[in-house]
């Protein structure tokens, strides 16, 4: 198990290098007129050239990547071209917003998917229909449409929750929950659609296996057979789907934060991309890929726990 995790960690480090390198080459190599954008159309060519030199943008791309990489290792992600705010500080101030929404969405996804997936695998009937309904809604309405509909219904018409904005957990837990409830719900519906049907499907597969019949032949209770034995064997596939969903939900913050005007990671990414703020873009890239690596590692650990064979793989 330990050497397996070490290998996965090694693969993760390789991934970080490849993704940051590709992004760096593609963005810095894309000839975005950064200095011109910063100085505005009235600046002279000489000023533009000078700023290019100051920012180091006149150097070869590989050399620039090397200097970015070495300072990133030291914890310095550079400063925004436009606000001069350190990228690392800007990201850490925006992270709680996005993470609040994503984590609440993931908890909702996990809890509801397990309950609904197990119940509809065992009982079927109405629960099957509810699950089908959620999946259909999620697949028919993209997150942007669903988000706006929710804003219109719950925030504008019913006025149950504020339409936009974010209140931090430390300031007021109640208002915090109200501000993340709708965006988290929109994300969770898409997560549940994927995860609950996965759990339902693998659980039905497991319950049809021979070892379940043998456990029944020894008079085991249905509760133990479903919740302890079959669910644990079905969990592997669910975990993989869950990790993919986590990454997807994180990416969807780009849309969600625009709709709900949340000052989080998605809006930061959006602004930096539109402005061509290269250091900020690299900061976002680095954090995203680190997150992917960490989530995959956690899933590997969880997988090792539920699936003894994975421990020696």
């Amino acid at each position: 198990m330990f050497s397996f995790l070490l290998r996965r960690l090694g693969a993760g480090v390789v991934l970080v290098f490849i993704v940051t390198f590709l992004t760096f080459v593609l963005t810095y190599g894309a000839d975005i007129p950064v200095a011109r954008n910063i100085l505005g159309p009235s600046a002279t060519e000489a000023d533009v050239a000078l700023l290019n030199e100051q920012l180091g943008l006149d150097r070869p791309v590989l050399e620039q990547y090397w200097s970015w990489l070495t300072s990133a290792f030291a914890g310095d992600l550079g400063r925004s071209y436009f606000t001069s705010e350190p990228v690392a500080a800007a990201m850490s101030s925006r992270l709680p917003v996005t993470m609040s929404v994503v984590i609440v969405a993931c908890v909702l996804t996990l809890v509801i998917s397990c309950a609904l997936g197990v119940a509809s695998a065992v009982r079927g009937g109405v629960l099957d229909s509810i699950l089908q309904g959620i999946s259909t809604v999620a697949y028919v309405f993209p997150a942007i449409v669903l988000g706006i509909i929710m804003v219109y219904v719950f925030a504008i018409t019913l006025q149950w929750v504020p339409a936009i904005g974010y209140v931090s957990l430390a300031d007021s837990p109640g208002l915090w929950l109200a501000s993340v409830a709708l965006p988290a719900l929109v994300l969770a519906i898409h997560g549940i659609a994927a995860l609950a049907s996965q759990i339902r499907g693998s659980l039905i597969d497991e319950l049809n296996k021979e070892y379940v019949r043998t456990l029944r032949s020894r008079g085991f209770s249905e509760r133990s057979i479903v919740l302890k034995h079959a669910l644990r064997n079905a969990a592997s596939a669910g975990l993989t789907v869950f990790s993919l969903q986590f990454i997807t939900l994180f990416g969807a913050s780009l849309f969600i934060e625009k709709i709900f005007a949340l000052p989080g990671y998605g809006t930061y990414t959006y602004n930096s991309v539109v402005q061509g703020d290269l250091p900020a873009m690299m900061g976002v890239t680095l954090f995203s890929v680190l997150l992917v690596v960490v989530v995959n590692l956690l899933v590997d650990i969880a997988n090792g726990w539920v699936n003894p064979k994975a421990r020696v793989a």
Binding site: L15, V19, T23, L26, T27, A30, V122, R123, G124, Y139, V140, F141, P142, A143, I144, V145, I148, Y152, I156, H190, A194, S197, Q198, K209, Y211, R213, T214, R216, S217, R218, G219, F220, S221, S224, H229, R232, N233, V241, L244, T248, F250, G251, A252, L254, K258, I259, Y270, S272, V273, M281, V284, T285, S288, V289, L291, V293, N296, N307, P308, K309
Partner: protein
């Protein structure tokens, strides 16, 4: 931008490809599938007719018609806040969506399929390299994707969709690769290879043919995702503002939400119609492929088969008094789609006394396993069980509900299965699953000691180690001993063993049979031994019932029947013992490769 995973589709569907004949026609017979197809075609045609149906260009604005209301002449859906014709923009957006779907899904399917076929078919190393690259794509965070995409492709949505197609291909790649690996090992592909077909022909003709169903389903999901991604990017404002798009329309309506919420309905509605019809079409096609055509799948979710007691007819024999198990007129049926039933057990009667070993012998498909599971109450829920009588220790099993049958299995009847490795829960140690069976009758510590003692009793050399082992860590012979220990742990009155040695090495077979005989003599339990091998019966059993096509054709003392079989089928079975032995000899000379790796523990 949730991307519906095509991994919901499982590999076994590949096996059903031969039954797919006319799947498309059956899809059209499903109301949901047909209506989804009609909606999809209708919306696409609307887009194609754009020059005829709208009088304005999607981008031209006329400030006189700013926020014009519904039904304004020439502006059927009104105008938006910039005075643009919403109807014209809807039609234009349909075309952009359709092109996005074609590019995104097209690139995704072609790349995913081609590399999936290569990775699955060519060999280990190619597979490892290709899979590594595609895993990289899966791990590529979508936020980063937007960052990379925007400067590279700029405002061209077609270019953006082509790159997204590459990333969407990961799902198809995994699907095709896994299916191909399954199919590659099937006999007909081997046969094609032996008959000298080139790899390209084999991949094209046989492998691609087998995996095409799941690919079609995944394509529908991909097209839907591509439309969603394009709309999402346009919603954010990535891409040219000169291209009409549902995303841009949703954004306009969102900014205008307080003033005129109805404007959201059109882009959201048509977007939903497009993506929804694609997903429902994909789902319906999957249902059509997955649905068995010959037997009904039960909608009931209770785990037990329906059991009924027959109205006793005149010539029904009464159950034998004092017998451990007495079955009269047992019938097992399975429903067909057309409402008829297939009867697999047709009026079986048999008795087992305490301390007696009864063989139930017959070829595969004769209904002997169905008979065994009826007694245990473990038939699949589609099954229908009926009998004149089925008594255990004088109590009727026909009247017992699920809970009572569970108590019977817990205390009175036990079962030893055929495939040892498939019958242990792979996620738990051998010890913990045996101990759980004893919980409720003794303390945990006592149960642990009891299980270790049982493991030693069934001939496991190192019980402590096996107790801690997971099923995959022990050999098939060891696993069967574990299952025997699990079966006798409850000190049952009746043990039902279903082909307990068929899956085992020939040397292990004899040991397992000896063990069964010893355990039976020690405990005085009755044993019903289900087997196809008359040799095993002759060796072990006191009495035998010979079964064929769901009926018992001959029953009596083993010695009598072995020397003077009256039914021709019994004669055949006895005659085949010699053949069987010679076949088994070959097995020793050349052990199966999967048996070599799992050696018996020293």
């Amino acid at each position: 931008m949730t991307i519906p995973g095509p991994d919901v589709i499982s590999a076994p569907q590949a096996e059903r490809h031969r039954r797919r004949h006319g799947a498309f026609r059956r899809l059209l017979r499903k109301p949901l599938g047909l209506s989804a197809l009609v909606v999809l075609v209708g919306v696409v045609v609307l887009g194609l007719l754009e020059p005829v149906l709208s009088t304005h260009a999607p981008m031209s604005s006329d400030l006189a018609y700013t926020n014009a209301s519904l039904g304004t002449p020439g502006w059927p859906l009104g105008g938006d806040q910039f005075g643009r014709d919403i109807w014209a923009r809807v039609l234009g957006s349909i075309n952009v969506s359709v092109i996005s779907a074609v590019i995104g899904a097209g690139v995704g399917v072609v790349i995913g399929t081609v590399f999936g076929l290569i990775a699955g078919y060519v060999g280990r190393r190619t597979d490892a390299i290709t899979s590594w690259v595609f895993n990289l794509l899966i791990a590529f965070p979508s936020l980063v994707l937007v960052i990379v995409l925007y400067p590279v492709v700029g405002s061209s949505y077609q270019g953006m969709m082509a790159i997204f197609g590459l990333f969407l291909s990961t799902g198809i790649f995994r699907l095709v690769r896994n299916l191909v690996i399954t199919v590659r090992n099937e006999l007909y592909v081997d046969a094609a290879r032996v008959s000298g077909l080139s790899n390209l022909r084999i991949v094209g003709r046989h492998v691609l043919f087998a995996v095409r169903g799941p690919i079609i389903i995944a394509t529908a999901f991909l097209a839907s995702s591509a439309i969603g991604v394009q709309a999402g990017l346009a919603f954010l404002g990535f891409g040219s503002t000169q291209i009409p798009s549902f995303g841009a329309m949703v954004n306009d309506a969102f900014l205008n939400l307080y003033r005129d919420p109805v404007q959201l309905v059109w882009p959201a509605g048509f977007l939903a119609l497009l993506t929804g019809s694609l997903v429902i079409l994909g789902n319906s096609y999957r249902d059509v492929l997955a649905a068995p055509q010959d037997t009904v799948r039960s909608r009931r979710r209770t785990q037990e088969a329906i059991v009924t007691r027959d109205v006793p007819n005149e010539d029904a024999q009464p159950p034998m008094a004092g017998a451990l198990l007495s079955v009269r007129g047992l019938r097992v049926r399975y429903p067909h789609v057309d409402g008829s039933f297939k009867e697999v057990v047709r009026g079986v009667s048999l008795d087992v006394q305490s301390g007696e070993m009864v063989g139930l012998v017959g070829e595969s498909g004769s209904g002997k396993t169905q008979t065994a599971f009826s007694i245990l109450g473990l038939l699949p829920k589609e099954g229908r069980v009926a009998a004149d009588a089925m008594e255990l220790l004088g109590e009727s099993l026909l009247d017992k509900d699920a809970r009572a049958m569970r108590a019977v299995r817990r205390h009175l009847v036990s079962y030893i299965p055929q495939e040892p490795m498939a019958n242990l829960d792979p996620a738990f140690t051998v010890g913990s699953q045996l101990v759980e069976g004893l919980r409720g009758r003794m303390s945990r510590r006592e149960a642990v000691d009891e299980v270790k003692g049982l493991l030693a009793r069934v001939g496991i050399p190192d019980p402590e180690r096996t107790f801690r082992s997971y099923p995959y860590q022990i050999s098939g012979g060891m696993a069967q001993r574990v299952l025997i220990a699990g079966a006798v742990a409850s000190k049952p009155k009746l043990l039902i063993a279903d082909e307990p040695t068929t899956a085992l090495d020939v040397t292990v077979q004899a040991e397992i049979l000896d063990l069964l005989r010893d355990l039976q003599e020690e405990s005085g339990m009755g044993v019903l031994l289900v087997t196809h091998n008359f040799g095993v019966v002759a060796d072990l059993c006191d009495r035998v019932a010979v079964m064929r096509s769901g009926e018992i054709v001959e029953t009596g003392e083993v010695r009598t029947i072995f020397h003077r079989p009256s039914h021709p089928y019994t004669q055949e079975l006895i005659g085949s013992i010699l053949d069987e032995e010679s076949v088994r000899e070959d097995d020793i000379a050349e052990p199966r490769p999967d048996m070599v790796s799992t050696k018996e523990q020293p």
